[in-house]
Symmetry: C2
Subunit: 191 residues, 2 copies
Amino acid sequence: MDKKRIDNIINNTKGKKLKSELVLDTGFLKIIKEDYLLPDNRVITKQRISKNNDKSAAIVVTRTVDDKYLIVFQNRVDNIVSAEFPSGYIENNEDPIKGALREVKEETGYVTKDAIILDTCMSNIGTEHSKLYLIYAYNAKKECDQELDKDEYINYELFTFEELKELVDNNYIQATSNKLAFYHLKELLKK
Amino acid sequence: MDKKRIDNIINNTKGKKLKSELVLDTGFLKIIKEDYLLPDNRVITKQRISKNNDKSAAIVVTRTVDDKYLIVFQNRVDNIVSAEFPSGYIENNEDPIKGALREVKEETGYVTKDAIILDTCMSNIGTEHSKLYLIYAYNAKKECDQELDKDEYINYELFTFEELKELVDNNYIQATSNKLAFYHLKELLKK
């Protein structure tokens, strides 16, 4: 790939952030207005959302010692219950893999030390600046009870890879990030 | 797959939305507080973000008649320029494919009538309730100039599939949704 060509396009597109202003701060959510100078000298305003101080998050495809996958079910906004891989925020200065494995333990009581990063991406590039790690954890064993946050209610279940595929195909697993994690798993298992 | 088993877990997890309250409305963004009764009788509060009145959006993998792919470059929040497939909001009552092809035309001046839906997913299931269509448009031809919104500044370029792969692998294409669209393209081309 001609990286110079790409970097040129990026430089020709890049504006300059002139100022940013905090519009709302609920603690968990911040709304920030940002003024940009575009390359054609127009000034535009963007609205940025900052969730949990832009902390990175992790989605963790978790495979148990007996070759099942952990899926959590929880209430999401607007009364939706979704099937998802365990996930959560990485604390500041926390290693992404350590944070991911901590979340799996908290949400399911399954523990392992074996994990790799499948991909790093941006969750919602139009309005947020937050990183998402897709992680594959394996050899997980049930070792303790769930340790949920005070506002969490999570049920988990174990599924085979074939069942996982059906959960994706039937849109029980419906989050963009979770589907991407599933495709990475699929490619990994092919190797 | 045992759908009854899944539906049981979902019903056992589902709470009940008690009330919702609008906290902020900037026009484009709304912040809504929602109170939920959980199955264990606790009441919790969730913060929901509504972008553009929860309009659905489309990401459009667009292949030209001469077998190249359209990639747009634009300023995103926090001074990031990202390489992305053309994308945009579907207007109310608009057919998703029609909306997707309209966005491609506006952002690049390329036109086609040939397109299929690759996948339908939820962009940001923790805090939003908005649908994302991943669309594959093909046989696109340059027919007119860009028709950008007044606050948009978009450069586009054409890439081969191999270059597209390198853009993904090198995280020039870094949005979760765009990466998922690329994996769908890859599976489609294998068939």
